[in-house]
Amino acid sequence: MKYLYYPGCSLEGTAREYDRATRALMTALEIPLMEIADWTCCGAGAGETFSHLLSLALPARNLALAEAMAETDQVLSPCSACYVNLKKTETVVREDPATFDTLRALLAEEGLLFQGNMHVHHLLDVLSRDVEIKKIQGLVKNPLAGWVVAPYYGCRCLRPFPVFDDPESPRSMESLIQATGAHVLPWNMGGKCCGASHMNTDPEVAEVLTDAILAAARGAHVIVTVCPMCQLNLEGYQEKLSRRRGSDLRISILYLPQLLGWALGMSVEALGMNLNLSVRNPLRLSVMKGKKEHCLTNVAETLS
């Protein structure tokens, strides 16, 4: 299966390592990605604050651009916020003909034909359902034996569209993590909210949520994420939250394709792991012994 790729704004900026790792992993898995030409912002959470129509028109423009490429009718987005906006628009096409007509008219004025025949997928949807787990197992060159990984899903890849996982008890990352040889941390925080953009506007609220997630991840070496906002909230405030709590909450935060790519033997640069804000050397971990040590040491050197 090939996909039209919608990276979204974050993946060009603060989450550029997510873009890099996604492309590298998909190449290794032989899943072609074609970036949607001239894509624009989906509106994130801001469009809906001002206008329901705008919040649909912004993603619809990108779906129309995807259609114009006439490559496939499958769209992939690694960002959970973009995914929900694009998916919402896909749903409107099916369920709200009047709004669909309005969107078509709006985009026609832009010279775009919006037919509404795109199917939108989150990266995790593709990895967990479209890729044979045996294929990943077969490609593993650097087994992550001894690693304990906490799968963090966040909200918007699970809700409001329960497409590929159970929003109450998500598990779609587990077989992927296990394919690398790592253990999955048993916890119940995987689908809990990190506070999202409240970290900017109402930090005293978001910090409580992020703190709870980091504290629950004790016992894991890494938390993996599938959303740029979750990633930034979990990696960007660890020192501050540790000081406040009076105990050490620091932990490595990786994007899921980085973890998988690492197990597949890709380099730090190829996966953008030098750009993460919180890589607490998975490398110095006491559990890391034997032949894995040399590659871990390499990372430690590159990262420091």
Binding site: G13, G43, E48, R61, R159, P162, K192, L209
Partner: protein, 185 residues
């Protein structure tokens, strides 16, 4: 009496569409029990929906409840009546923009600055967006709070100083035409 009049004036027409969205609320409290932010809210989500249905506009738009929604959609998925609660929160936010409600001014400005950046450039320029936000908030201490994170990001070369600049972006006409269409039903 005066309060009642005020509420009638502010409430009836405005809240109508939101009331339709939550009309069949049975006050079970699943939304409150599911909300990760309810601990910080002055009214619980369940109480807020009751206030919507009772037209208690004044108190509703003085409360922080709806502006503290982080759009996790847990209540929407769990609501036993299947009500579109997160969409209803968005409808309340849109009303609070029109009413220029003070209590969520900062989060509205945040979203406004984000949209301004994408209107100008088609894609958000993260640093420009934050600079616009700082300028709009007119609080010289605000950037200080963001400094530690900004420093980390700059050291990684992920953000750089961007002086806000105007340009005719690819989304200009779409913004304009959407706004025009929404004003004229």
């Amino acid at each position: 009496m005066r309060i009642r009049e005020q509420q009638g004036h502010m409430g009836n027409d405005d809240l109508g569409p939101v009331q339709e969205m939550v009309r069949s609320c049975i006050q079970c409290g699943t939304c409150t029990g599911s909300c990760p932010n309810s601990f910080a809210m002055d009214y619980t989500p369940r109480t807020m929906w009751r206030m919507v249905l009772r037209n208690e506009s004044e108190a509703l738009f003085r409360s922080r409840t709806f502006s503290l929604c982080s759009f996790c959609y847990t209540c929407t998925l769990r609501c036993p009546r299947g009500l579109p609660l997160t969409a209803a929160v968005n409808a309340l936010k849109q009303l609070s923009v029109r009413k220029k409600v003070d209590v969520c001014r900062h989060s509205i400005l945040f979203d406004q600055c984000f949209l301004e950046s994408i209107r100008r450039h088609g894609r958000v320029r993260e640093t420009e967006f934050m600079m616009l936000y700082f300028m709009a908030m007119k609080n010289p201490l605000l950037p200080v709070r963001f400094a530690p994170l900004a420093w980390k990001l700059m050291r990684k070369g992920k953000v750089s100083l961007q002086i806000p600049c105007r340009s005719e972006g690819r989304l200009e006409t779409l913004f304009h035409k959407t706004a025009k269409r929404e004003r004229i039903p």
